[in-house]
């Protein structure tokens, strides 16, 4: 069964066709531009669609007779469109900070407090409120406030729908919009897309069928946003299977039938069929390695980092706290920043770099610890994304977490996850497991277990001990308006 996946990431839009065995038959990608100002982080949906269409034509020119199309993209990026699915403004991306005030206003409303969501400008509703307050003209012209997934689906099918998990960014409870809150905010519920379960099937519009020379009844399957697709694309299938996906940020999620404690606020739980997906995303990803390479290893590549000594930096007393942009899960601390601790005269650049790599292991362990505090056991970890390309990082993660790490063969795990979610609907009884191939397995080494356990305790203690400093530092920098680190 051949399926085409449109995958919109932060840096590019891609179209990929997978064959029945999960192999990529064709793929095409185009870079997309990001528009940055001090608080705004935006992209242009017209550009997405124009470049996405080019990708579609390119892969469809190589592979005939596809069986379905699905879409996966970033969540919580507000894309307002008119009746013809044409954008009424640029998309507000995840890391955009403009709706801070609206978020804190909403947080004070009783109709919000009972929903059980935390306060953050990251959610869609505060952003819609920002548009309504600051750009009433655009608010008036907007027919629907979509997520990027929905935007592509609307372009392909003419239907304005959103999947149940993407909809949680709109504060849904039991797949329903928060009616009372919307009333308090005077946001028109009709301007929100219709909520559909994952696996819903739509049909290609006549216009799109003609445009891309596709058959008219070709199914367009609703899947969901990229992090969830990447989760299913990482090979998880049993209780306690976890994924560690590092892209721009790192997402750690585990598949479980257990529930997190009601008062757990460090990590999230999403319901999918009879499973829970538990975990969260931090702020640490490829950006950390890029920072390291750009500042200290000009003109070197990821692969050069493999050559770093196998001798632990923690063993020589050097520990790095990688919070260069503050941290999300599990700390939720915008004020914290990075730190090298324990520098000695003999530490050289490679020791420092090695400490940076080791920090990815401590961060993974802290996320797993937050998950396991809820009585959910993490058994194995599937690693994918940019950092997983570095063998040394995978071994470090195994050593520090004490869990086996499996590196997947498939580079396009997000798109593969979307493919599998869609195919499960069209082909009942489909077993996705043969599609996931393990490239390499990393076992924790006993001889460093105790050392890393101590180093990890220290990693946490140092964060605690420096917390007040970071708060004071933030206050000291505040008058300069120099709050570095827009979250990209």
């Amino acid at each position: 069964m051949k399926g085409l996946v449109i995958n919109l990431g932060f840096r590019s839009v891609r179209a990929i066709i997978f064959g029945s065995d999960g192999r990529i038959l064709a793929s095409s990608s185009r870079k997309v531009e990001t528009f940055l100002s001090s608080e705004y982080v935006e992209q242009d949906p017209d550009e997405w669609w124009r470049k996405g269409s080019e990708c579609l034509r390119e892969v469809l020119g190589k592979v005939e007779d596809i069986d379905f199309i699905t879409v996966t993209a970033s969540a919580a990026c507000v894309t307002p469109v008119d009746e013809k699915a044409n954008p009424t403004m640029r998309t507000i991306l995840v890391s955009d900070k403009r709706a801070d005030k609206e978020a804190s206003y909403i947080s004070r409303l009783d109709s919000f407090k009972k929903l059980g969501y935390e306060t953050s400008a990251y959610y869609t509703i505060p952003r819609i409120l920002w548009i309504k307050r600051n750009r009433p003209d655009i608010y008036g012209r907007t027919f629907k406030f979509l997520s990027p997934n929905d935007f592509f689906i609307a372009k392909l099918t003419g239907d304005f729908v959103i999947d149940e998990l993407n909809a949680t960014k709109y504060y849904t409870v039991n797949n329903e919009y928060p009616r009372e809150l919307l009333r308090d905010l005077e946001i028109d519920e009709d301007k929100l897309p219709e909520i559909k379960p994952i696996g819903s099937m739509l049909k290609l519009s006549d216009e799109s069928a003609e445009n891309f020379h596709l058959r008219r009844d070709l199914p367009v399957v609703v899947t969901t946003y990229d992090a969830i697709c990447a989760f299913f694309g990482s090979g998880v299938r049993e209780e306690g299977d976890a994924c560690d996906i590092s892209g721009t940020v790192t997402s750690v999620r585990v598949l479980t039938r257990r529930d997190i404690r009601p008062d757990e606020s460090r990590i999230f739980q999403l319901r999918y069929r009879d499973w829970n997906i538990v975990g969260g995303s931090n702020n640490l990803g490829g950006g950390l390695i890029e920072w390291l390479l750009n500042n200290f290893y000009m003109n070197r590549t990821y692969e050069d980092l493999e050559k770093l000594s196998n001798l632990s930096s923690a063993a020589s007393g050097l520990i790095f706290l990688p919070y260069l942009m503050g941290e999300r899960a599990p700390l939720w601390d915008d004020k914290v920043r990075g730190c090298f601790l324990g520098i000695e005269r003999f530490h050289n650049r490679d020791d420092m770099a090695r400490a940076v790599l080791e920090s990815t292991g401590y961060v993974l362990r802290s996320l797993i610890e937050a998950i396991e505090d809820n009585g959910i056991q993490v058994n194995r970890i599937y690693a994918s994304g940019g950092l997983a390309r570095i063998d040394l990082i995978n071994q470090i993660k195994a050593d520090i977490t004490g869990k086996k790490i499996y590196k997947l063969m498939e580079a396009e795990s997000t798109a593969l996850g979307a493919y599998c979610l869609a195919r499960e609907v069209l082909e009942p009884g489909f077993d996705a497991s043969p599609l996931f191939k393990i490239e390499k397995e990393y076992s924790p080494r006993r001889e460093v277990e105790n050392m890393y356990a101590e180093a990890y305790r220290l990693f946490k203690a140092a964060y605690r001990d420096l917390r007040r400093f970071h708060e004071e530092r933030y206050e000291a920098l505040l008058p300069r308006g120099d709050l570095r680190g827009v979250h990209l």
Binding site: R345, L458, H470, R473, A476
Partner: protein, 507 residues
């Protein structure tokens, strides 16, 4: 005297290099060079150098200098050598080296400190030596050698310092001056100005193993016949010399209360002369080369910068980043390095913290901080550490009105500005030099009777460039300084735990 000719050969045995200069009898440099070497770091807390390395580099320096300077080597009439201190540099009866020297920054003698404290008592130690007990001082290093390498210790005839080893090679005399003897606490009695027989006997040392203590400017002997291999004639007068810190202070005219000397070499000693009314054990207390008293605190200064330069060496080579670029880029970054704070205790905290577990840290790193921010943060972090020493010096009754910056790091205008603004004191700098070799020149000149007193040095130095503190920037720095102290306080336990990990992993 000039007509008769006469030049002084002055050498400073530093942590990363030997600086050698020829001075005429009016304190004018007629030639100079430096030759680098590398210390060895055989393990956490261990810092050594083989005395042979020092001797070889000294020989090369002298030969090259005599060759390049347009003087007749026969006109060299005096020699003075200063150096890093305190060390444990044992030689046997034939003057042969027994083991590499343990250097001032070596902190292995932890157990020995406990032993000394137990057997003598902190109060007695402070009363006799004026100092606290710490692996930094000469005494614990010597005891480490005695207790851990007894077979080698048996062979030891004298325990020398780096500069006195050179003097020994030149003259055959095993001596030490008062400024360095004072750092060999608890063996030196700071009031009676002699080795303490009592402490020697409690710790099981024969006082004969300690070199004779002589005034820094006293002629101890003459170059022997073998010195001709260096290009030096036989019979040149050699003075005792002194510790690099004391010679640096003398060399920039700091020997009276009110003045302070800021070394910005590998070590960042903040040195101030006083009348010896009080010895605060948080500081290092000893004698000056003129026979008065000095106290100082220290931090790794240029050592932190050179750590960073080593770190960036490959990067800098790839990208053509040199000192000028670093300075220029770092100057454009506002005070406080946009929220980046550096703790410079890369080799542990010496005076006044006396906390061995201390290590360096860079705190507050965001994606927009790059190498230039870190460089500036290092200069500032060292200044914060020095500011703390200043606070304690003032508490201890020190009178300090201005600071004179010396050594390699003092060439950085940016660093001098930062110092002035953080310390809130004028910072002077003599482009003509005013480093330890200048202090050596003064000692040799005095020893030869060419000058009556050290006030002559002030004449030699000429005009200083002065950076006055900017009150507004000082205010900004004060809040960063408080943050620095705050972090310093909060991280103590973490550093202790870190050193536990290292200790266990080293096994």
């Amino acid at each position: 005297m000039g007509e008769e000719g006469g030049y002084l050969l002055c050498s400073d045995i530093g942590t990363s290099s030997i600086k050698t200069r020829l001075y005429d009898l009016e304190g004018k440099t007629v030639g100079g060079l430096w030759e680098g070497y590398r210390l060895s770091y055989p393990g956490s807390g261990k810092v050594e150098i083989h005395p042979d390395t020092i001797w070889k580099v000294f020989q090369t320096s002298v030969r090259r200098l005599l060759k390049s300077a347009r003087i007749d080597p026969g006109d060299v009439t005096g020699i003075s050598i200063s150096g890093m201190t305190p060390s444990c540099l044992p030689v046997d009866k034939n003057g042969c080296i027994i083991r590499p020297a343990l250097l001032w920054c070596d902190s292995r003698a932890v157990e020995e400190c406990n032993l000394i404290r137990k057997s003598i008592g902190l109060e007695t130690i402070h009363r006799v030596s004026g100092n606290t007990v710490a692996p930094y001082f000469g005494g614990p290093k010597w005891l480490w050698f005695k207790n851990n390498e007894p077979r080698l210790f048996e062979k030891a005839w004298k325990l020398l310092q780096c500069n006195s080893y050179i003097i020994y090679r030149l003259t055959g005399e095993a001596v030490i001056d008062f400024s360095q003897a004072g750092l060999c606490a608890p063996f030196f009695d700071i009031r009676r100005r002699s080795w303490s027989y009592e402490i020697c006997s409690v710790l099981g040392f024969d006082v004969d193993i300690l070199p004779e203590i002589l005034p820094s400017s006293q002629v101890v002997g003459e170059t022997s016949a073998s010195c001709t291999s260096l290009g030096l004639r036989r019979g040149i007068s050699v003075v005792t010399g002194g510790g690099d810190f004391a010679c640096s202070a003398l060399g920039c005219g700091v020997f009276e209360p009110g003045d302070a000397c800021q070394m910005l070499g590998t070590a960042g000693d903040f040195i101030f002369p006083h009348r010896g009314e009080r010895f605060d054990p948080r500081l290092v207390n000893t004698m000056h080369v003129d026979g008065s008293y000095v106290s100082f605190g220290n931090v790794l200064a240029g050592g932190a910068v050179s750590w960073f330069r080593d770190l960036l060496a490959a990067f800098a080579k790839d990208n053509g980043v040199d000192f000028q670029t670093l300075e220029g880029e770092a100057s454009r970054i506002p005070p406080g390095s946009e929220g980046l704070i550096f703790l410079p205790q890369l080799i542990g905290g010496i005076a006044p913290e006396w906390d061995l577990h201390r290590r360096g840290a860079i705190i507050g790193i965001s994606t927009s901080h790059g190498p230039f921010h870190i460089y500036r943060a290092i200069l500032e972090g060292v200044a914060y550490a020095l500011r703390y020493i200043l606070d304690i010096a003032l508490e201890a009754g020190g009178e300090i009105e201005s600071i004179t910056a010396v050594d390699g790091g003092a060439r950085s205008r940016l660093w001098r500005r930062i110092l002035a603004d953080v310390m809130n004191l004028p910072v002077k700098y003599y482009a003509s030099g005013g480093d330890a070799t200048m202090g050596d020149a003064a000692l040799a000149a005095k020893g030869l009777g060419c000058i009556d007193g050290f006030h002559a040095v002030k004449g030699w130095l000429g005009e200083a460039a002065v950076d006055e503190p900017d009150p507004q920037i000082h205010g900004e720095y004060l809040s960063y300084y408080r943050l620095y102290r705050d972090i310093y306080g909060h991280l103590g336990g973490d550093f202790r735990n870190l050193s536990e990990i290292i200790r266990r992993e080293a096994k």
